[in-house]
Symmetry: C2
Subunit: 159 residues, 2 copies
């Protein structure tokens, strides 16, 4: 199935169940929000996204703890967790918060945190989980691979 069709199905399922999604994007740069809003009817499940590309945006807009950015880095389990959890809490209505932080490249990688490293946080009222991925690809493919993971999570989300 095409990715657009999958997103359409998710929007239908979520709107029928009156569930809302909010997104906090760093390395994906607005792509997740863009792909959701390409579908007519998106406004029934999606009300906001924060693209916190820089660290100050993560602190100002998502209340990520600056000490955690300093201690663990902006690309970390801790920061993805706070992005996902905080965007969920701060948005009303919101049932699922998603937070994405990673290194798109081609520059910015280190031996410990190579280009392609991504943490995605998935937050609900029950729990916040963070998954780690490595998508070493060009910037466009990198964003698409992130979207596919989020789609899979939302498809499998049980009510």
């Amino acid at each position: 199935m095409e990715i657009e069709e999958k997103i359409r199905d998710i929007i239908k399922k979520f709107s029928e169940n009156e569930l809302w999604i909010a997104v906090a994007e760093s390395c994906s740069g607005g792509y997740i929000s863009h792909m959701i809003t390409n579908i007519s009817g998106a406004s029934k499940v999606f009300e906001r996204c924060i693209v916190s590309y820089g660290n100050q945006a993560k602190i100002d807009l998502l209340k990520v703890d600056p000490k955690d950015i300093e201690n663990y880095g902006a690309v970390s389990d801790e920061v993805a967790r706070q992005m996902a959890n905080n965007v969920r809490i701060m948005s009303k209505p919101c049932d699922i918060g998603i937070g994405i932080t990673g290194i798109a490249g081609p520059t910015g990688g280190t031996p410990e945190k190579p280009v392609g490293l991504v943490y995605i946080g998935y937050s609900t009222i029950k729990e916040t989980i963070v998954k780690k991925y490595n998508f070493n690809a060009d910037r466009t493919t990198f964003k698409k691979l992130i979207l596919e993971e989020i789609i899979e999570f939302l498809e499998n989300y049980s009510f």
Copy 2:
């Protein structure tokens, strides 16, 4: 010239002059942010974007006056002006704030505010101007036409 090349040139010009852009998107749904961040080096000129798809997001995240939304509607000169001006003031560093509100369709249009209506606000320390457009097209083309206007504004921005 391809749109990606134009964005690359703008990022180069702006980063050389240490100028920063912040974006507040409604109907364009994150597409402007996505297209800017597709270019490596975007982080030198672009630090954040707020996708305020719903009215509450415009109020919560961009301090748009709820009375103006009530009196003029979310798709209006006044709201585009506040989105552009406020995202600029709230973001540091930021020299140019851009605010976009419109009706992507296919639903949501009225005789007074038809599908395709878009207001784009362009805000600098000198002034905030709002331009009105009518881009009656499918959702994807609608977003591209908005991007082209913003690109043209940024290309012609004089330092």
